[in-house]
């Protein structure tokens, strides 16, 4: 089980040591400008430090998302790893991974099953809150989100 390839993860241990206001601090802005922080690291820190999402823990072997089923919330992995099974493809995803957001925003069932391999900490993005916002957006703003969703679904 643990010999699966880890296809995506940020160094959550390193990034968690940054102050919660790091991205807005002079030090953080300088680090971004100097290219010392990768895009995924900046995004991880932003999502890690938001107070708008609830955080929860899951024990190992918890099924988060099942292939073919619709789901009510997406997950941002703060720490820990999940196993993903998509057809014949099996792999691991770690901290910084976002599960189900694009699919759930357009009401599609999951193309993969994601199961926790370790105890994991996640932030939850509930679709009822996402839908409430999407419904009031003007076309140009909605198009920006839809463009990224389409790219994610095509991947």
């Amino acid at each position: 089980m643990t010999d699966l390839n880890l296809l995506f993860a940020v160094d959550s241990e390193k990034l968690s040591k940054f102050d919660t206001n790091f991205l807005k601090s002079k030090e953080g802005i300088d680090a971004i400008s100097a290219g010392e922080l990768k895009g995924e690291e900046r995004l991880f820190l932003a999502l890690l430090n938001t107070h708008l999402l609830n955080t929860t823990m899951f024990l190992p072997q918890k099924s988060l998302i099942k292939a073919g089923e619709q789901f009510d919330e997406a997950y941002f992995i703060v720490s820990g790893e999940v196993q993903v099974k998509q057809g014949e493809k099996h792999y691991k995803l770690g901290a910084g991974s976002v599960l189900g957001l694009s699919e759930g925003m357009v009401g599609l069932p999951s193309r993969y099953t994601a199961t926790t391999l370790s105890s994991i900490q996640v932030k939850i993005i509930p679709f009822h809150k996402v839908d409430a916002i999407m419904n009031v957006l003007p076309p140009e703003v909605k198009a920006i989100l839809v463009t990224i969703i389409k790219r994610n679904l095509a991947a």
């Binding site: 390839n5 296809l7 995506f8 802005i29 971004i32 400008s33 290219g35 922080l37 895009g39 995924e40 900046r42 995004l43 991880f44 932003a46 999502l47 938001t50 708008l52 999402l53 997406a74 941002f76 792999y91 995803l93 910084g96 991974s97 976002v98 957001l101 694009s102 925003m105 993005i125 809150k129 996402v130 916002i133 009031v136 957006l137 003007p138 140009e140 703003v141 198009a143 920006i144 989100l145 839809v146 463009t147 990224i148 969703i149 389409k150 790219r151 994610n152 991947a155």
Partner: protein
Amino acid sequence: MSNFQIINFGDGEYICKIGDQATHLYFLQQGEVELLNGADQVFGKIPQGQSFGEAAILKGGVRGASIRAKGDVVCKMIQNDEAVELLSSYSPLLVVIMEGLLLQQVMNNAIKYS
């Protein structure tokens, strides 16, 4: 939507080049644009009604591809800080959603090219 500037590009005109600082996000109001790699070869197209340059949301990011107008193009353009402000004006959670989508995109690319 007053934060958006309307900008026109002629056929063959570069809207941005690979490696440029990503300072603006674009909404393609009219026409079509081509995506080009470092060797200036076309590898994709973006049709009318879609956006491009979302990396601008990642302050300090650079363009991963060049973008060139194919025919006459009309874009709505917004500077990165203003884009974040605009999203935030609808709901602070919208910025979080955008960041989540962009992170999912980075993750998907890592999976795809692994």
